[in-house]
Amino acid sequence: MNEMPAQTDIRRDLVGLLPQLRRFAAVLVRDANSVDPLVVRTCEAAVEKAAQPKPGQELLPWAFTLMRVLWTEETRRRKNQAERDDNGRRAEPGRMSLGKPVLDALSRSSAPVFLLCSVEGLSYAQAASIMGITPDAVAVRMLLARRELGAEDSQTSERRA
């Protein structure tokens, strides 16, 4: 995985990571129209903060962390705004499609953890750092994700039969 590049190279390196950044953004936001704006904000923040790299830090997990923090802040802001607008009567966004029934089976809490650990190959400790949770919570969400995917697999097999 790429280590944190020099200031002049980070934009190019971020472009190389765009497919993975867009995939993580899709899992977080679950709204096709919000994916690219979140990716752009993340990359702008990464370019802005690239002058203070920690030695040996890898670019992709660092960018994932930035994106998760940005998304958490935005979610909090939207929630506060909604509460101000109509006294909190507006419902929280539910499950929105990731474009594939298999992935739609994953809950909002388990999907990003599964992506980080099982797909991106990060450790529980790294995933915990990115998501701002404990490694134990990562272990629980990984099991939850596998159960959700297993249930979807069973339902698909039953429908085919």
Binding site: Q7, T8, R11, R12, L14, V15, L18, P19, Q20, R22, R23, A26, D36, V39, V40, C43, E44, V47, E48, A50, A51, L98, G99, K100, V102, L103, L106, F114, L115, C117, S118, V119, S123, Y124, A125, P135, D136, V138, A139, V140, M142, L143, A145, R146, R147, E148, L149, G150, E152, D153
Partner: protein, 278 residues
Amino acid sequence: MDSLRNAPLDMRLSAFIDEELNEAERQEVEALLIADVNARTLRDTLESADRLGRDAFDAMLKAPVSLDLVRSIKTAAPPRRAISLPEPARASWRPQPSFGVAMVTSLLMFGLGAGAGYMAAERPNMTTYADMAGDPTKAWLDDVASYYRLYSRQSRHLVEIPANESAHIVEWLMATTGVSFRIPDLSAQNLEFMGARLFSAGGRPVGQLLYRNTEGEVIAIAFTKLIAPQAPDAQMRQIIRDDIGLITWQGLQANYVLTGPSSEATLDTLARTVAGII
């Protein structure tokens, strides 16, 4: 992570698949998998779910990335750094005019103001030649961008004089533009010098050196004799015109502009290199 020894079997198996158990726990689970058929079945179910999810996520990577997204990231502005230049010490003289001097100065300023007001009132729609000509810097940049858009799409007719006639290029462009220059060797930046052109931009003769990178994109360096004589301004400015990026700066005797695709993230770095050579 805390020990999972007392956790449910499926959680231990899930962590086992992810290689997150410590050595003692791992050996314990391996022994269980050998002895217990139900444990093996459960592990297989979890692994099957894992594959299903991974395959679906892998397919997401094939979604095309829009060019606008790439461009917006390649052109994201890096943080500005404040540079404080040494300034000459200012004299600490403070005027202390007498009453008479203050009165005379006030009357003089009043007279000048009234005169200017009268002139403006008499000819409110007066247009100067400078107004008619417009901003000369903008005019030449507009033309440089237009020529770049035209020539960068040429394959056989990219240049007028090819790179193998470097000596002639220098002599010819120095004579026509009045700017002395060197042809920068940018092979370390993976740019091949293709040759040169002469054209007119903003009514001025402009010399242009053209390079091609490994992706076939054209990078051009244009220069013209100083447009507005003033103190050299080494500060570079980046301008984006749709798909074209321009980096401009001013030297002692000429104005320069480096032109390339706006998606090229290193134009500013390249311009600094060129400014140090040319």
